[in-house]
């Protein structure tokens, strides 16, 4: 293992977890010349001709998918802190005596604290994705066997597309799915809006398992995840805790300091000429970001300005702007509350997107470049505009990197 100074001036290692890694070469400098990674060719003859891919249990599906030592298992964070699926997957792996798995979630939440036991007993060797809450603390204390790798949503897509991470089994939780594996996030008890973070996994994983607690007859429309990518469908009682999947309480901050920050941010954007007719913006679902959105709304309504689109994290505030008129479209990457889910299901102007459309390094361009202004939260910012979004002042991993 060598030490290399990367383009950002940081000394990094040439290998992580025994695998060679490419140091940061500078913005836009990484241009691999190979073809995209692809899963093995499949043939429809190997799948039921009646299209019914249902299988008795998740354990059976994982066994059929060939779960064994050292595999990479992916899950997703559509269910946020209400997710019950990832824990079940590793309960089964543990019961099967499988070791050294790489867990490749699109993000982790405090509800995954349960997995610390499996990190300790060797079922899971390491996490690549985001490590939040109790898992973040565990990893920050250096207690994980392998080295954790943080991946942004776009970086995750890139790693899947260029084969840096080969997913052996992807387990996709689907609020609604048919027996063929078509799935969406719009209806059912676990409705979460969209399944964009699972899109790459469905296309590139060796085996894809769709798990639903709201089965419907074919065709499940719209199919955000296409059944043609899916190997097995599992029906379960409950995928998650609805009250934690969708926050009933996306609320604007009441903190005077944060409100002032939001107001100054919006005024800056106005003064800089960013808020003009036909502009576009993106803001998160944190209380401060929501407040920025509200100040944007005031400025837009006062001046008769329309935004061509807003990128979400959609929530009731964006939805009301869509319904009242100051924004023409919402391009949502995820949905944070029930109003967001309702709007996405009913309003053709509220469109679901994925990291493929938005942050895709190996795409022929991406939407991120089309957004005029993005409001992001950071725990620390320095005078050089370097921002820290992953650790808090105690040094523990706190958040994912985001887009």
């Amino acid at each position: 293992m060598r030490k290399i100074t990367n383009a950002a001036g940081r000394v990094v290692t040439s290998e992580i977890n025994g695998e060679p890694v490419i140091p940061f070469k500078g913005i836009g400098q990484h241009k691999p010349e190979a073809r995209k990674y692809a899963p093995p060719v499949s043939s429809c003859a190997d799948y039921p001709s009646d299209g019914d891919k249902r299988i008795g249990s998740l354990a059976l599906a994982l066994e059929k998918a060939g779960l064994r030592d050292g595999m990479t298992i992916s899950t997703h964070h559509h269910f946020r802190n209400g997710d019950m699926l990832a824990n079940q997957v590793f309960d089964i792996a543990h019961q099967m005596g499988v070791k050294d798995l790489r867990w490749f979630p699109s993000a982790s939440f405090p509800c995954h604290e349960h997995l610390i036991g499996y990190l300790e007993d060797g079922t899971i060797q390491r996490i690549e994705g985001s490590m939040n809450g109790p898992l973040g603390k565990f990893v920050s204390e250096g207690r994980m066997t392998g080295t954790g790798v943080l991946r942004s949503h776009g970086g995750r897509y890139q790693a899947i597309q260029d084969g840096e991470v080969k997913i052996d089994i992807s387990v996709i939780g689907a609020p609604t799915a048919d027996q063929f594996g078509n799935a969406n996030g719009l209806e059912g008890d676990s409705a979460c809006g969209l399944l964009g973070f699972a899109l790459a996994d469905s296309e590139y994983a060796e085996k894809v398992i769709v798990v639903t607690d709201h089965p419907v007859e074919f065709p499940c429309i719209p199919w955000q995840i296409q059944g043609n990518h899916v190997d097995y469908v599992v029906e379960v009682e409950k995928l998650g805790d609805p009250s934690k999947i969708i926050s009933g309480t996306t609320q604007i901050t009441k903190s005077p300091d944060r409100l002032l920050l939001a107001e100054l941010t919006a005024k800056f954007c106005e003064a800089a000429g960013i808020i003009r007719d036909g502009f576009s913006f993106q803001s998160g679902a944190g209380g401060t970001s929501l407040a920025v959105g509200e100040y944007f709304r005031k400025i837009m309504i006062e001046n008769g300005i329309h935004a061509r689109f807003a990128r979400g994290g959609s929530n009731k505030y964006l939805v009301s702007m869509l319904e009242e008129g100051p924004i023409n479209n919402i391009l949502a990457g995820q949905t944070f509350d029930l109003d967001g889910v309702r709007s996405m299901a009913n309003n053709p102007g509220h469109v679901w997107t994925s990291p493929f459309t938005s942050y895709n390094y190996h795409g022929k361009g991406n939407f991120a470049g089309l957004v005029d202004v993005v409001i992001l939260g950071a725990t620390e910012v320095d005078l050089e505009f370097n921002a820290n979004v992953v650790t808090h002042s105690d040094g523990n991993l706190l958040h994912g990197i985001g887009g």
């Binding site: 002032l260 002042s393 105690d394 040094g395």
Partner: protein, 408 residues
């Protein structure tokens, strides 16, 4: 009790200072026990231990050395306290067991080396509870004209001594971004003890609560001058008496003119209406006499009258109406109990278009007279005094500040 007994007793006692609990931020809770041997034993519980544990221990050792405490056990539950807070808490705990004239202060922040002046605008003064560090840290970003570190009503009696030390350290270490730094002391005579602690440490203005007589102002003035003389500081600390009773209202002019250090006077309507024996209403008829009388006394004395706080922090429209009314009867500022009130109050007291236009005319006339070398300024048939020109300049300053005119 002889001395040895006293020492033995203080050895057994545990003194505490600071705040703790789920919702406490930027503070710490210190428990201290003096020992007769064994040096300093620091038990630190902090979520920032890994990053700042070493500095915190170093600081605590430095403070204990300065306060002449060679042997002690000290437990610190830290919730993200900054050094000036830790310093105040440790010192407060020590002083409970071992009163002395020794003290530890953090250095003066260079950003805080600004002066004030008697004519500055005092539209908004933001009250900050004197024993709650988390509310002090970002208060300045809301750009109130003044911040009031309050030692009176917002601090419970048993917390007064530790709040004094915290306020002293905050005066030195918290950047209030140009706000005039005020301290509301306790009612006299307790307030005189507050002065001993805060006066030498860069406070701009002292608020004297429940002021009823000129003699109280004199008492504060005298104590201030003897403290400043003792610490060898040649500067003025301004005074703002608060009238909060019927008697205070009757003596308003006498209080306003009690000292040349009085630059402004405020009215506190919660206590006043209680003294009057009536309820405080939104429309305020019950206090109209007191307010107009107060305004008149201030104008006669050439100082700024400041209105009472508006206590419904969620009602911005009500506040706005209140400010309009307040300005209309002659008040030149208002207290704030929530940062979000600051911009509403500023907008309300901002000069109107006719005021700005008049100020522009006055300044033009002044510049014209100056360029001609004339000693006397006149506008139309009216002679203009220098204070009027000065006030016009202030008005223009404000007009620039509020974006009513472009500064050239």
């Amino acid at each position: 009790m002889n001395n040895q007994d006293k020492i033995n007793q203080s050895m057994e006692q545990i003194a505490t200072a600071g705040n703790r609990g789920e919702r406490i931020r930027s503070d710490c809770f210190v428990s201290l026990q003096l020992k007769s041997s064994g040096g300093i034993d620091i038990q630190l519980k902090s979520k920032v231990e890994s990053m700042f544990g070493k500095q915190i221990r170093l600081q605590v050792n430095e403070i204990l050395e300065k306060l002449d405490v060679p042997h002690a056990t000290i437990e610190i539950e830290d919730f993200g306290a900054l050094p000036f807070v830790i310093g105040a808490r440790v010192e407060a705990a020590v002083k409970k067991l071992k009163p002395s004239g020794l003290f530890w202060t953090p250095p003066l922040l260079s950003e805080n080396e600004y002066e004030t002046d008697r004519d500055r605008f005092r539209f908004s003064r933001l009250y900050l509870p004197g024993n709650s560090p988390s509310m002090m840290l970002n208060a300045g970003i809301h750009k109130p004209n003044g911040i009031i570190l309050d030692l009176e009503d917002s601090v419970s009696p048993e917390k007064k001594p530790e709040a004094r030390l915290l306020v002293r350290n905050a005066l030195l270490q918290v950047d209030f971004y140009g706000a005039e730094r005020m301290v509301r002391i306790n009612q006299l005579p307790l307030g005189l003890e507050d002065l001993e602690v805060v006066a030498p440490h860069y406070v701009h203005l002292i608020l004297i609560p429940k002021c009823e007589h000129a003699a109280q102002v004199k008492q504060v003035e005298e104590r201030l001058s003897s403290i400043l003389e003792r610490v060898n500081q040649e500067r003025e600390i301004y005074l703002m008496p608060i009238i909060e009773s019927c008697l205070g209202v009757e003596n308003a002019y006498e209080i306003a003119t009690a000292s040349h250090l009085v630059v402004s006077m405020a009215i506190g309507l919660e206590d006043y209406t209680a003294d009057l024996g009536v309820a405080r209403t939104a429309s305020g008829e019950e206090s109209l006499y007191a307010r107009t009388r107060m305004v008149n006394a201030c104008k006669a004395a050439g100082i700024q009258p400041i209105d009472s706080v508006y206590s419904d922090v969620a009602n911005m429209e009500g506040l706005k109406q209140n400010v309009i009314q307040s300005k209309a009867i002659g008040f030149e500022g208002m207290g704030c109990i929530h940062p979000r009130q600051v911009p509403v109050i500023h907008a309300g007291f901002a000069p109107g278009e006719s005021e700005v236009a008049k100020a522009e005319k006055i300044i033009k006339a002044f510049q014209k007279a100056e360029s001609k070398g004339l000693g006397v300024v006149s506008l139309g048939s009216k002679m203009i005094d220098l204070p009027v020109v000065k006030r016009a300049m202030k008005t223009m300053e404000l007009a620039y500040k509020f974006g009513l005119r472009d500064q050239q």
